[in-house]
């Protein structure tokens, strides 16, 4: 079971994290804002993308089949993995058959989701993350704290120290030098690794094209040098047509980094053809379900599968900005993680995720495909409570309290009477005394804030007496 509450204190006390979050998202305007405001028909693009996604999800089997056909035609292979474990097993088996000892990897959240690196390491295969942020995280033995900028929680100094300690780099505070070190080391891995594993941003059903967006050039190398390329994709990543890419790329890239275009967008159609100079001889596309079809089966929750992993909802989320990504304790963080974690697993596995939100709606406002995250979180809260209170014999205290509360709120007489009693209590105990009452509601509130003083008379009392007078 993942508990966010257990991680909050540590996150709040982590000064580097707090400084980095502030600098990145609070103190300076996000580049996204300008990139979006430049596009006059942004809302139209969003609607289009949302509709294309909704359409695709409603016909997912057809599109996946067409994708498979096209990939096969081009000489690639398609593997259907119902669970993360199945995907991992395929990769392990193939590596063994081909005698692969080292793998270069492009950034892939799905790979994190299915814990691929751990499995590779256990099988004595060395995974080398080649995205700079991921490389840093891997060296540190940590997990990404942001969807797009995985090492966001680390300062330049921490990264430099890490490089000195793990790679023997001469001490420096210069970002250029840190990068030169990484470049040199990774170049060696690129030129020797025999397998490249990447994620997928979009897969075009009509052409069998796998699209991977990046800035560094590491994906380009990972899919060009090694003999084997494995692309890992969630089944929800398929889109119908090439032309849709124009819209999705515009939305994704501007939302993610505020760029108009990333340095590279790799569109891949299977393995190298015999008359091409280079490229992988073998190309595998692994279609991973891992809980997605379960989400798909729920007509309302289905919307969450439209996500294009841009990270904009994290960037604007005041909760994410306050606790960072690690506190979520899950592969996906921020509003996306709050939504997706209990959906992919269960509300029992991630009981707090849906509640770790003030429902402010900033995520919905920026989401390029218009996912109503707050409404999904509300539904998840509902699911959590109803699963928790399925049996009448074991109703939670909170449920009983809510039932009682609803009775009071449906009865104006009870309601008015309770108000009077509360004011009496307040008179007896005083404002601070209320916080010492053994009621968690009060004590947790009063940990940080004062309670408002109860007025001597409620509005309704004042109103009825004024009516009597007049």
């Amino acid at each position: 079971m993942i508990k966010i509450s257990a991680n909050v204190q540590r996150a709040l006390a982590d000064e580097t994290l707090q400084g980095n979050l502030r600098r990145a998202f609070v103190d300076t305007p996000h580049p996204r804002d300008e990139a979006v405001s430049e596009v006059p028909n942004w809302e139209e693009l969003r609607r289009y993308a949302r509709d294309v996604k909704a359409h695709t999800l409603s016909r997912l089997p057809e599109y996946l089949q067409s994708l498979e056909e096209k990939v096969l035609e081009q000489g690639g292979k398609v593997i259907w993995a119902e669970t993360g474990q199945e995907a991992v097993q395929f990769i392990l088996d193939l590596s063994h058959r081909r005698g692969v000892r080292e793998v270069v990897k492009g950034k892939s959240m799905l790979s994190e989701e299915i814990h691929l690196n751990r499995a590779l390491e256990r099988a004595q295969i060395k995974p080398v993350e080649t995205d700079l942020g991921e490389y840093v995280i891997q060296l540190a033995g940590e997990k990404p704290s942001h969807l797009v900028a995985p090492a966001l929680h680390k300062s330049r100094k921490e990264i430099a120290d890490l490089f000195v300690q793990k790679l023997g780099m001469a001490p420096t505070g210069d970002v250029l030098e840190i990068i030169a070190t990484a470049r040199k080391l990774l170049r060696h891995h690129f030129l020797t690794a025999r397998m490249g594993i990447t994620g997928v941003n979009f897969a075009v059903a009509e052409t069998g094209t796998i699209v991977i967006v990046e800035n560094e050039g590491n994906v380009g190398l990972s899919v060009s040098v090694p003999e084997i390329h494995i692309a890992l994709m969630g089944i929800e990543k398929v889109i119908p047509r090439s032309r849709d890419l124009a819209v999705f790329l515009k939305l994704l890239i501007r939302s993610a980094t505020g760029q108009k275009m990333t340095s590279y967008v790799n569109c891949l159609n299977g393995p190298r053809r015999s008359d091409e100079l280079d490229g992988p001889q073998e190309f595998y596309l692994i279609l991973v379900d891992n809980g997605r079809s379960k989400i798909l089966a729920d007509d309302f929750m289905r919307q969450s599968l439209s996500c294009i992993r841009c990270g904009a909802c994290l960037d604007v989320c005041p909760v994410y900005q306050t606790i960072g990504g690690h506190a979520y304790g899950s592969t996906y963080q921020g509003p996306l993680g709050a939504m997706l974690t209990p959906l992919l697993t269960s509300v029992g596995e991630a009981p707090e995720h849906a509640f770790a939100s003030s429902l402010c709606g900033a995520c919905h406002e920026v989401c390029p495909v218009g996912i109503p995250i707050p409404q999904i979180l509300l539904k998840l809260r509902e699911r959590f409570q109803s699963e928790r209170n399925q049996k009448a014999a074991s109703l939670s205290l909170e449920k009983l309290a809510m039932q009682g509360w609803a009775r009071v709120m449906c009865s104006p007489i009870l309601y008015a009477r309770l108000g009077r009693w509360a004011r009496m209590l307040h008179k007896i105990f005083g404002k601070s005394g209320m916080g010492r009452l053994p009621i968690p509601l009060f004590s947790r509130w009063m940990k940080h804030r004062d309670l408002p003083a109860l007025p001597p008379r409620s509005f309704r009392e004042l109103y009825s007496s004024s009516q009597e007078v007049s």
Binding site: Y48, R59, D131, A246, P271, R302
Partner: protein, 223 residues
């Protein structure tokens, strides 16, 4: 598994594909827009539309990338962009060796004299400047599109620290929508949209140019 997905899909509401694509921008001067966008992301734009300018542009690229030789990608590049050349090894094309290095001592002069030399992967890692032709350019974003097909590869444009792209004016498209609408459905195995040099912001969100791909990107526009 497909069965499971089909089952999951069955209950849901069906939604139609939107009928119309949203508008993408058009420009009265696409070349100028392309130049602006390319320069904004740190690329270098050179106008080689008049043949007298071409030699100068090439000279500049060599100087800026601190190189004395260029590795060219295929014969088509010369034909397509009207670059006059002669082969030192007249049978080179026929022999199927596909990369040509060309040495400069002084100024660039036409016809360019090419030395044929099939490059190995280990050569690629040492090359300081490579040149390829773009299939398309996109004014909206300053993008050039590199197409992998028969006789061409992926690495020549990725491994060297500097890369030069020839873009013909007639291949310059207005916007991304036009690009994806006019893209030939996969003949080759890869198509890369390149927009400026390689970059990262992974350390404290500071933008640094030149990580794994080229640090310098030049585009020469030809007519």
């Amino acid at each position: 598994m497909l069965h499971k997905i089909r089952h999951a899909c069955a209950g849901g509401s069906s939604v139609e594909l939107p009928a119309e694509m949203p508008e993408f921008p058009h420009y009265s001067d696409p070349v100028e827009k392309f130049r602006q966008e390319l320069e904004r992301v740190g690329g270098v734009f050179l106008d080689g539309r008049r043949s007298e300018e071409l030699a100068g542009a090439l000279g500049l690229v060599l100087k800026e990338s601190d190189s004395t030789e260029i590795y060219w990608e295929g014969e088509e590049l010369f034909q397509r962009h009207g670059i006059s050349f002669t082969l030192r090894d007249p049978e080179a094309f026929a022999k199927g060796s596909l990369l040509y290095s060309f040495h400069f001592r002084h100024r660039v002069q036409f016809p360019i004299v090419l030395n044929s030399k099939p490059a190995e992967r280990s050569d690629l890692a040492r090359i300081s400047l490579s040149a390829s032709g773009a299939r398309f350019g996109v004014a909206e974003t300053g993008t050039v599109v590199h197409e992998v097909k028969a006789g061409r590869g992926r690495l020549l444009s990725l491994l060297p620290p500097a890369h030069l792209v020839f873009l013909s004016e007639r291949d310059l498209l207005m916007n991304q929508a036009m690009l994806f609408l006019s893209m030939p459905p996969g003949q080759g195995s890869a198509l890369t949209l390149v927009t400026g040099p390689s970059r990262t912001s992974d350390i404290e969100r500071t933008l640094v140019v030149g990580v794994h791909g080229p640090e310098k990107l030049f585009v020469i526009l030809t007519s």
